[in-house]
Symmetry: C2
């Protein structure tokens, strides 16, 4: 019986995975990667002959089934996810059934795109004394409903750094947003680039179309 590792691939560039993650990819007999979010370049760490599949278009049950099946045949199986697996990664939904089936599970954290976005913005920092000491990671309601206490309006009242995930469809003017740094209610809104080819940007919160 093998072990299934949930590995954070990081924010996009292949070399922003952790050393531990790249080594596990090199040892893995099978890798299931989230092709809609993880760049194929990340697979450069896998060994030749590795059983590699893209989970794009499959559902949760299929993903779990694939991992369970491969764990019967390989000592190391990797589920490669974008950013960090604990953040918007459906980690509990996948690890729970494996755990209940007696399959050992390990987790390798990854660099979140929130941190990478700050780095990419050339010296942008998420916390600054006298300005803010708090960072909120959230998203705008889409397929996954948002608890009412977590509405962007309510969160923005703290006037801290706000990193908005999974919400590109709600950017009224993403291109413009990249160049605009003025602030609405003093809240800098940083849109982590969830897809490798989309640059992160800082936007005015007025550039967000928030569904009512």
């Amino acid at each position: 019986m093998g072990k299934v590792w949930f590995v954070g691939a990081g924010p996009g560039a292949a070399d922003l995975i952790t050393v531990r993650g790249s080594r596990l990819l090199g040892e893995a007999g099978a890798v299931l990667y989230a092709g809609s979010l993880v760049s194929r370049a990340a697979l450069q760490w896998a060994q030749p002959g590795c059983d590699i599949a893209d989970s794009k278009g499959t559902d949760l049950a299929e993903i779990i089934g694939w991992l369970m099946d491969r764990a019967q045949h390989h000592e190391t199986v990797v589920r490669l996810q974008t950013g960090d697996p604990a953040l918007y990664g459906a980690l509990a939904e996948m690890a729970g059934p494996l755990d209940r089936a007696g399959i050992p599970v390990g987790i390798v954290p990854g660099v979140s795109s929130a941190m990478a976005s700050a780095a990419a913005a050339a010296g942008e920092t998420l916390t600054l004394p006298e300005v803010t000491q708090t960072v909120i990671l959230t998203h705008i309601e889409g397929r996954t409903p948002m608890p009412e206490r977590e509405s962007l309006d309510a969160l923005a009242r703290h006037r801290c750094s706000l990193c908005i995930f999974l919400s590109i469809a709600h950017m009224a003017s993403p291109a413009l947003g990249c160049a605009r740094t003025h602030r609405h209610r003093d809240v800098p809104a940083l849109r982590p680039g969830a897809r490798p080819r989309l640059p992160p940007c800082r936007a005015d919160t007025r550039d967000l179309r928030i569904p009512r």
Copy 2:
């Protein structure tokens, strides 16, 4: 004139640095590491003969002076910081003066201990549909003052995941906290382990001594 890289060492274990970060350490002629927070094991990536110094006990001006001086002599200089440089890392305070002095600056993001704490808690996830889709990274007022809008009480009202940095002095019972998972006001409070030898823990927010 060399380039100064601010590199996130990640949450503690030497192999949780990024591949890019470990490579830059291998190329660096000089490395200044935050010894009070970064494990010496992280220096294993540096080349023999590298000019390595610990910034423990030095102030911001001395750190900037050291980096400026080494940038005159080495092509690659690394400032190695715990976690991610953009989060409680005094990044703007260091990068600003270098930038104004015409020294090129680069940033390599790192895995935050918030993500690593969730991973270390064996499958703990920071977001879960129907429960919370928001994560707040913050700390309790200490040497760095907290804006009033960012009080723990105010932030806890969202009942989302709460990662409390730099606040171990305010844990009434850190050892106990590790074993307790019940929730006060439904808020799981995860204390990222800022020092390599301190394990992360989940605590009841009642176990926090919050200064008034």
